[in-house]
C-alpha cells in the first residue's frame, strides 16, 4: 500500500488553516507505530458515513483507541462535538503536506 493519499479540501471547517480548494497529502502510515497526539491534523472517515472523508484537528486523545476531533473553524465544523469521539480505525492518516491554493 502506497503511504500517500491525496485529498482536496471542500469546505470551510478547517479555516484558516485549510481553505476550500487546497490539497492535502496524507501519510497513511503515520500512526502505525505511535498513537495520534493532540494538535495533529488528520483525515478520517465520517463515523456515520464511511464514504465521506473529513479533515480535522485532534483536540484530545479520548481513550486508548478513540480521539476527539474538532475543526479549526468551530462555528462551521461538524466534528466530535456532534458525533462524539471517533475510533482510531476511522483515521486515514496524518496530513503531511498542505498545498495552499
Amino acid at each position: 500500500m502506497f503511504p500517500l493519499s491525496r485529498f482536496r479540501v471542500a469546505d470551510d471547517s478547517m479555516r484558516p488553516t485549510l481553505l476550500p480548494g487546497d490539497y492535502v497529502l496524507v501519510n497513511r502510515w503515520a500512526f502505525r507505530r505511535r498513537a495520534p497526539v493532540a494538535g495533529e491534523i488528520v483525515v478520517l472517515r465520517h463515523p456515520h458515513n464511511s464514504s465521506h472523508f473529513l479533515v480535522k484537528r485532534i483536540a484530545s486523545v479520548a481513550g486508548p483507541d478513540t480521539v476527539f476531533v474538532v475543526g479549526d473553524n468551530e462555528a462551521r465544523s461538524e466534528d466530535s462535538r456532534q458525533f462524539g469521539p471517533v475510533a482510531r480505525g476511522l483515521i486515514v492518516g496524518k496530513v503531511w503536506v498542505a498545498a495552499m491554493r
Binding site: F7, S13, L54, R76, R101
Partner: protein, 173 residues
C-alpha cells in the same frame, strides 16, 4: 498559488483526488424556518380543500366523478408532498443548523422537533385537521426558537394566506 498546488491540481484533472470534509452540506450557513412554515400552512389548506370538496352523488354523470377524483388526487398529493417538505426542512434545521449550545439554551428543542415530525407523519397519512394544526404549531415554535438563537425577537401574526392561521416572523429592528 504554490508549485505543489499546481502539480496537484493537474493531477486532480486526470485522477480526481478524494474530497475531504464533505459531509452532505456545504455548509453554507443559510437557514430559514420559513419554508417549513409555508409548507405547514399548505397542509392545513389542503385538508380544508379536501373536506370542502363536494362529493359526487350516485346519479351524477361519470364526468362529474372523474372531475372529483382528479381534484381529490391533486389535493392529496400536495398535502403529502408538503407534509414531507415540512419534515425535510425541520430535519435540516435540527441536524445542520442547531448546535449543542442551542440545545443547552433551549432544552425543549429535541422534543419540539420530535413532535413536529410525528405531527408531520400523521398529517401526511391522514386527512386530519388536528394533526395539520399540531404540525403548524410545532413548526412555529421551532421558528421562534430559531430566531431567538439569531438574537431576533419574533411576532406571531395571522398569516396572509387563505388558512388564516397564525405564523411567526422575525422582527428586524
Amino acid at each position: 498559488m504554490s508549485v505543489l498546488h499546481s502539480i496537484l491540481r493537474t493531477m486532480d484533472r486526470m485522477f480526481p483526488a478524494r474530497v475531504a470534509d464533505a459531509h452532505c452540506d456545504i455548509p453554507c450557513g443559510i437557514y430559514d424556518p420559513h419554508h417549513a412554515q409555508m409548507a405547514a400552512h399548505t397542509v392545513i389548506r389542503m385538508v380544508g380543500l379536501i373536506n370542502d370538496l363536494p362529493k359526487p352523488g350516485p346519479n351524477d354523470p361519470p364526468e362529474k366523478r372523474q372531475e372529483y377524483e382528479a381534484k381529490l388526487a391533486r389535493y392529496i398529493a400536495t398535502k403529502e408532498q408538503h407534509a414531507e417538505l415540512v419534515k425535510h426542512e425541520i430535519r435540516i434545521l435540527w441536524g445542520d443548523y442547531f448546535k449543542p449550545e442551542h440545545v443547552q439554551q433551549f432544552p425543549q428543542l429535541h422534543d419540539l422537533v420530535w413532535k413536529a415530525l410525528k405531527a408531520g407523519s400523521k398529517a401526511r397519512q391522514e386527512v386530519n385537521l388536528q394533526a395539520a394544526e399540531d404540525l403548524l404549531k410545532a413548526t412555529n415554535e421551532i421558528a421562534t426558537t430559531f430566531w431567538k438563537t439569531k438574537g431576533l425577537d419574533t411576532v406571531t401574526v395571522k398569516a396572509p394566506y387563505p388558512t388564516e392561521r397564525m405564523t411567526v416572523y422575525p422582527k428586524f429592528h
